[in-house]
Symmetry: C2
Subunit: 217 residues, 2 copies
Amino acid sequence: MMTTVKRKPKSKHALAGEIAEAIKLGQFRSGEWLRQIDIEQKFAATRFDVRTALDELVVRKAIEHVPNRGYRVAEIDRETLRHIRSVRIVIETSAATAIVSGMTPATLSTLRGLAEEFGVAVREGTRADQSRVNAEFHEVMYHLSGNPVLEELIWNLRDRGRGSNVTVWASHESLLCSDRDHHAMLEAIEKRDIARLSQLIAAHILKDAPEREPGGL
Amino acid sequence: MMTTVKRKPKSKHALAGEIAEAIKLGQFRSGEWLRQIDIEQKFAATRFDVRTALDELVVRKAIEHVPNRGYRVAEIDRETLRHIRSVRIVIETSAATAIVSGMTPATLSTLRGLAEEFGVAVREGTRADQSRVNAEFHEVMYHLSGNPVLEELIWNLRDRGRGSNVTVWASHESLLCSDRDHHAMLEAIEKRDIARLSQLIAAHILKDAPEREPGGL
DNA sequence: GGCTATTAAATTGGCGCCAATTATGTTGCA
DNA sequence: TGCAACATAATTGGCGCCAATTTAATAGCC
């Protein structure tokens, strides 16, 4: 049981991050109501901080607000999900060029380490571990683009697409696939093969939440 | 019912929109402190609503918050501006294909009307008029993409880039240039010339806030 | 018995007070 | 005169109370 998380710094923004993280990790189901009392107990925060954090998450599109009803985890329909993925492909593949040109031996070895670490996490780590290492890998990679705005956008869109694919991601198949993708990306970066990297990124995104629909994008 | 100041909406979100609009229109200068008392008088809102709205704008990156100092209009440095424009080009040009394929005679004539209207606004309208018509033109155009997520993203990035280029935009030269661009875009859409449309969009974005700094970075 | 009106409990959310902090103005001192 | 310490005014921001609204529980009615 992991109720009442211990946190000394009661920053509103930090609390929003905590809640967002919890949602990402699937601790709240899609469409589930987030009662203020529950949240304030679970995260050991005051009522006001909870409301502020929840408001922030509404702006960030992580949850939605219904007047006089409260806040609930946003349900993203298939179509929106497709739109998000479509935009993600455009944005993330656009980073490929900058990633390759920004590549250095140091970051390359960092990436290699993280790719290995992810492989380990897939086999013997918790879901949170996998999520964290995976995020770190992509963070380092996209950081090479040298464009903070681009980076931030990528994370926003990734977060928005979460919720329904967590279960999918739980499949060991998908995890192994992600693992292979990471190594393939590394290889492409190393060989400065921009086209291949773009292709891998696009495929990676599509696999992130697969959908049997004819006609990509 | 509508006085010189704004209306009195009951929604906090609406107030945030009003303030954001005011910032876009240059009623607050870059780096200027937004004193809560001033805001609450200017927009006839309660202290609490002001703070909520301001918090929302912080999340939306329109303003920034300094603890115990207050809120101020975010100053975007040249580099960030460049990054934003870079991402804008990627995203907005990516919409070109969908725009062309989604084009219908009805929307085309709507666009033509708006392009004309913008031309009129440039000559004899207020700055607010110009801004509004211009926004409407691009809104209709990007709406053709059929991707709401993409649309929203475009607006977010546009808003973030505002602040320093309003003065530039005041230049009659730039306005006339925008006017020409609109008509050129129309033509490209009509001819289903995706490449040309992409090119025009990119150029339009670059012209939106040209680097005037000597030896610009 | 099933359905609806009424009442009670639970939850949300608007709003304001006042302590903490920062900015401003003033005085004393070298 | 310039600087620093202090006093005072202005501003921010944390927090809680309670009214408005929704949900449930219950009783009343057909």
